[in-house]
Symmetry: C2
Subunit: 215 residues, 2 copies
Amino acid sequence: MKKQHISDAVIRRLPRYYRYLDELHSRGIVRISSSMLGKRMGITASQIRQDLSCFGEFGQQGYGYNIMELRAEIGHILGVDEQNRLIIIGAGHLGHALLQNFDFAQAGFRLDTAFDVSEALIGTEVNGVAIRSMDELDGYCAAVRPAVAVLTVPKSAAQEIADRLAALGVSGLWNFTNVELSVAEHVFVENVHFADSLLTLSYRISKKSEAENES
Amino acid sequence: MKKQHISDAVIRRLPRYYRYLDELHSRGIVRISSSMLGKRMGITASQIRQDLSCFGEFGQQGYGYNIMELRAEIGHILGVDEQNRLIIIGAGHLGHALLQNFDFAQAGFRLDTAFDVSEALIGTEVNGVAIRSMDELDGYCAAVRPAVAVLTVPKSAAQEIADRLAALGVSGLWNFTNVELSVAEHVFVENVHFADSLLTLSYRISKKSEAENES
C-alpha cells in the first residue's frame, strides 16, 4: 500500500462508498462502473477513481468494479474485519437506542457491555448486553482492553469520563455529548454533532424560502 | 448579499463556526482573530476569511471578529431566527432521546409535537411535548404546516412515511433511519449516518495500530 497523506475528505467518503456498495451488493448487483457509482452518490467518476487510487488499484478499465471485491477491500481499509472491542458509557435514552438498533458488528466492532451510574439500570440487560456499574469500569478496561468507548453521558460528565477512559488506554471515543473534548494525543475523538446536521438543513430551507420570496 | 454558488463544504462549516462562536461567547470572550479561531477549529485563517466572504463582509483588519455579532450573523444565515416548526415522527428510544436532550430552539426550530403508532405512547407527553397518533398526521400538517420532520422510525417504514410527509408539504427531513430516501425535489433530506461516523473512527484506529506494528 502506498504511503501518502490521505485527506480528511477522502477518509470521510470511504464509509459512504462502503454503504453504497453494501446496498448494491444486497440487491444482487455484481459490478458497477465508476460513472454509475458516482451518479448514485452525487460525485464525479474521476473523484471516485482518485479517492480509491490513494489505497491501491481497484477495478478494470471498461469493466468497472466488482462490487463484492471492492466492498471487501474498502471494509478492510476501514478496519471492519478487526472486530475491535467497544463499550458504551451511558445507557440513557440515546445509549439505549444504540444498544437496541445500531449494528456494531456490521461496522466492525464487538459490543461488549455498557456502563451506567443508575442503580435501576445496573445489572439489567438491553438487547442481550449487560449494563454494569461505572465502579467496574477500571477493572473491566484493564482486563478486556476495549478499543473504543461510546460516550452517551450528560454534558457535565463528558470531559471527566473522557479523561478516565484515555488513562485506561482506550484508543477512540465516539462522542455524542456535544462537548468538544480535549484528550491525550493517542486518543481519536469522533464527534456526532446533531446540531450541525440540523443547522445545515435549516440553512437549505431558509435559502429555499428566500429564493421563493424573491421570485 | 452576493449571489453565488456556495459549496457544500462551506455550508457544512457554518454550523461549526456557529458552535465555536457560541462556546466563546458563553465564556465571555468578546472578540477573536481569524487565526485564533482557525487554530481552535483546526482550519486556516484564510479558509475562514474565504468562507465568510461568501456571505458578506465580517470582521475588521487588525481587530478580528466581534464574537457576538459574527455569531448573530451566521445564525441569521443559517436561519436560526426563523423559528420554523418541526415535528418528530417516531417516539422510540432515539426519538425519546431527542425529545429529552436536544435543544431544538437553539437550532432555530420550534418543536411542536411527536407522532407514533404505539398505543402505549399516544396521549402521553415527553418533556412537555405531546405524542400523537400517526392517524392525526395529515390533519395536523394541513393545519400547522411544519417545515421539518425528524424521522426516527424503523427502516421498514422510512420511505413510505417520507413520501407521505413530502405530499403533506414538509420542506425538510432530518433522517436518522439510515435509509437513502428518494423524495420529491422540493424536499431537502439531511441524513445522520451513525455508521459513517463510527467507520471513520475505525479507520483512524486501524491505521494507528498498523503504524505501531510497523515501527
